[in-house]
């Protein structure tokens, strides 16, 4: 496991280096609404931009303000300081107001060779689904033209199959977490999912297969309570580790960089782009979607019940109003279903803030009698 955690925390890990050394291209994206299958089908490595709790922001702060989410500023910092220079291009999405600013500044300063704006609708309706499918077609065309590759339906279907395999395996890993006696910690699970977005699919599958085999009969140590973690972009492994060090085992999550997007493809007919549009938009369990609250609530409630959690910790990064507002509604709905909730505002990548966070979590564990 130590390997996976180390690999997850490295921005450019050995697999990415090897891919590039062999002449492979890498495209960066951030939002979970980006269909990686299109990038995979082009023979390009999709890389989900992350900051893994990096606290540095001084370059980014010259462009974005302190009223912007620190996660986006940390990612921008890594883009500006050259850490992400191994990317051959960027795919922007209108994930949220902060993310748009991050991409605009990144593009302005670093001028990547390839930059494409994938516009993701905020609603799940027939007209917006059709618009999104058209957007995916534009993305496919832009990648094909810029990288002089062909992205045919056959390649897309193969990429979709691989992606679905991986999602299925990640769901199996979550099954191991959710057991009465969990076999995987929340920190480990977050590391695995974080790594899934930053290495070639086949290599990741092999690694994950080995991990699942190794953990099938394992048991994590003693703990006080079964917790669910939900909310905003959180790829800081130390954050989950600290919560678990208090005895709050994170047996389930509904995090943006966690288990929120491990959906099953439904055969809705149509070609692969149509299937991707349906799959991604329907399963975008993110408060950036509107008139979709019930879906988010049900997903989180189902997760909490399936994992038999003692309580839920709903977090948001300071200035992320989408999650902060949604969490208020979720708290009411979860508590009315008998799931105690702790709302936590955190500053991304601020380890100095962990003392306060730990005190709140300790108090919560006491409140729920654990």
């Amino acid at each position: 496991m130590e390997d996976i955690k180390t690999l997850a925390e490295e921005i450019q890990n050995q697999y990415v280096k090897k891919w590039r050394d062999e002449g492979g291209k890498v495209l960066g994206f951030s939002c979970v609404a980006t269909p990686v299958e299109i990038i995979e089908a082009a023979g390009i490595l999709p890389y989900r931009i992350k900051a893994m709790g990096s606290p540095e922001k001084e370059l980014a702060d010259a462009y974005m303000s302190r009223f912007n989410c620190a996660f986006c500023r940390s990612c921008l910092q890594l883009g500006l300081d050259g850490t992400y220079d191994f990317l051959d291009g960027l795919i922007e999405t209108n994930g949220c107001d902060h993310l748009r600013g991050m991409f605009e500044n990144w593009e302005l300063v670093r001028k990547p060779d390839f930059f494409h704006y994938l516009r993701v609708p905020h609603f799940v309706r027939d007209d917006s689904l059709a618009a999104y499918e058209e957007e995916l077609g534009l993305l496919r065309g832009a990648i094909a033209e810029s990288f002089a590759v062909t992205i045919d339906d056959e390649a897309l279907n193969a990429a979709i199959a691989t992606s679905q395999d991986i999602m299925g395996m990640l769901r199996s890993m979550n099954g191991l977490r959710e057991r009465g006696e969990p076999a995987v910690t929340g920190t480990e699970a977050l590391a695995v999912v974080a790594l899934s977005g930053s290495m070639p699919a086949e290599a990741f599958k092999a690694l994950l297969e080995e991990f699942l085999k190794e953990r099938s009969d394992a048991k994590v140590g003693e703990f006080r309570a079964r917790l669910m973690l939900g909310g905003a972009a959180t790829d800081e492994l130390y954050f989950v580790e600290e919560i678990e060090s208090l005895g709050g085992m994170v047996v389930a999550d509904a995090l943006c960089y966690g288990s929120r997007a491990l959906w099953r493809l439904q055969d809705s007919g149509g070609g692969p782009l149509h299937q991707l549009a349906e799959g991604y938009l329907h399963n975008l369990t993110c408060p950036r979607m509107f008139k979709h609250y019930e879906q988010r609530r049900d997903f989180i409630l189902e997760t909490a019940k399936r994992a038999e959690v003692d309580g839920a910790v709903l977090i948001h990064n300071k200035f992320c109003d989408l999650h902060a507002v949604d969490n208020v509604a979720l708290r009411a709905d979860l508590e009315s279903e008998g799931v105690p909730v702790l709302l936590l505002e955190k500053d991304y990548g601020a380890k100095a803030d962990m003392g306060r966070i730990k005190t709140r979590v300790q108090a919560f564990l006491e409140r729920i009698g654990r």
């Binding site: 462009y63 974005m64 009223f67 748009r100 007209d127 917006s128 058209e134 008139k291 507002v325 509604a329």
Partner: protein
């Protein structure tokens, strides 16, 4: 619990409509003595506002504006007894679209907050506090959270529907309105702006716009009537012509347009556009400007700066703030909400009206810039155009903590703007609707320093 904190008569809209409802009963002309008498009846803050807006040079226009918004508030307050539904919506949507329906009247979240900030004793602070007490974050926009805070108490005047066109251009605004609709069990209609400026995006927006109209028709049980549409739109078109005429006055040096008129322009646009009152106010604004041109009346010895405000300005002391600037020769030649890229609507047919309404809605303030392909470039291009048109020599951005989209690109915008225009830029920070965030004295000081040391002082005399 709510009942213990806030009583029905203390709800924000209830209080505001109570006060504004009195204004239409006032005569069109008020003497200095009348105003002095009125001021004595009011609490200190309200009295200050009253005196500021009714300064002799703009008294008639101010009265026309406040009478218009008084009528608007009255219509909403009595809508239910008149068999109409009240539609609450954020400011980036045209009220004339609501007026096209026989059975609906619009109220505007930020309009209520802004007017309350001017007219109510202790402004909107307690409603903001109430919203925060529910766990909502203090990083929300106070323009919406103040009125929403009052609504969430559950005992203020309640709308029948929430309609939001903010998705795609403001996360904060969209999310708090969605939350409120869910919390209060109100129906909601939302219109998305694709983050794009292409022809394809405009066509997609038209599809969404038509779907929104159908939802409205279904909710109200009323099919849009072409004649009524035309009647409302012709009034909106007439008011738009007057806006264009006023734009010409705004170009003049020194500016004959009182600073506060920027607010009156969009205050009118957001409340009574498409109504007779909208035309009346716009005409009064022009009459005042015309008179000032004829008499050469200007409140300061000299116009030393022509400022364009990149987004909004400060409202919590706004009546005095405008006059404070003006008396120092600092003109506000424009701000983003009073700079329109909308057009006259073709009233030939229902389809032509619908298309042009959608097109104007696409180009509405904030929707156009922040909901564009690039927040930075769309916003920057529009500001540069306006600054050149209006001969601005200073740009001011009054950053509100909640404006995550504008804050995220303002640094780059400032560089780009200054490179292209050579116009100096001042970045301020403060909440426009809550006075306890940044004291007005601090803002005065920063503006004074910027204007006196950078804008008004010749470059050669600087060391």
């Amino acid at each position: 619990m709510n009942m213990q904190l806030i009583h029905p008569y203390e709800g924000l809209f209830n209080r505001l409509s109570g006060i504004l409802g009195i204004i239409p009963t006032l005569p069109d002309r008020l003497s200095d003595e009348d105003i002095e008498g009125l001021a004595r009846l009011l609490p200190a803050e309200m009295s200050k506002t009253l005196k500021a807006v009714l300064e002799p040079g703009m008294r008639e226009a101010s009265l026309a504006f406040f009478k218009a918004v008084g009528t608007w508030a009255e219509k909403a307050a009595h809508a239910k007894e008149n068999g109409k539904k009240v539609v609450l919506m954020p400011f980036n949507f045209a009220p004339e679209i609501i007026y096209m329906f026989e059975k609906a009247v619009p109220i505007i979240t930020e309009g209520i907050t802004t007017l309350s900030t001017a007219a109510l004793d202790k402004q909107g602070d307690k409603y903001w506090d109430f919203a925060l007490s529910m766990g909502l974050p203090d990083t929300l926009c106070s323009a919406s959270a103040i009125e929403i805070g009052s609504l969430l108490t559950g005992i203020d005047f309640q709308p029948d529907l929430i309609l939001s066109a903010a998705p795609g251009s403001c996360d904060d605004n969209s999310k708090i309105h969605e939350f409120t609709a869910n919390y209060l069990g109100l129906p909601q209609i939302m219109l998305e702006k694709p983050a794009d400026t292409s022809r394809r995006a405009q066509e997609l927006y038209l599809t969404y716009f038509k779907a929104m109209l159908r939802e409205m028709e279904e909710f109200l049980g009323e099919e849009l009537d072409e004649d009524r549409m035309r009647e409302v739109i012709e009034k909106a078109n007439r008011a738009h012509e007057l806006y264009d005429e006023l734009w010409e006055y705004r170009k003049m040096v020194p500016s004959p347009v009182p600073n506060i008129f920027n607010l009156y322009i969009y205050g009118t646009k957001y409340t009574v556009w498409g109504q007779n009152e909208g035309i009346t106010v716009m005409q009064k604004l022009i009459d005042t400007c015309k008179r000032r041109v004829e008499t050469g009346d200007y409140p300061a010895p000299k116009e030393i700066a022509r400022t364009y405000w990149a987004y909004l300005f400060y409202y919590y002391d706004f009546m005095e703030f405008f006059n404070w600037l003006e008396k120092r020769g600092i003109a506000i030649v424009g701000d983003l909400p009073s700079t329109w890229f909308t057009k006259r609507i073709d009233t030939t047919s229902k389809e032509s009206m619908t298309r042009d309404l959608a097109s104007n809605s696409f180009d509405y303030f904030m929707t156009r810039q922040i909901g564009g392909s690039s927040v930075l470039l769309n916003w920057c291009d529009d500001i540069i155009w306006a600054c050149r048109e209006l001969s601005a020599n200073a740009l001011i951005y009054c950053g509100h903590h909640s404006c995550k989209q504008t804050w995220s690109v303002f640094s780059a915008l400032r560089s780009e703007f200054m490179k292209r225009t050579k116009i100096p830029t001042l970045l301020l920070q403060g909440d426009m609707w809550i006075k306890r965030m940044t004291p007005m004295s601090s803002l005065h000081q920063q503006i004074n320093e910027f204007i006196n040391n950078v804008v008004a002082r010749p470059r050669s005399s600087r060391k």
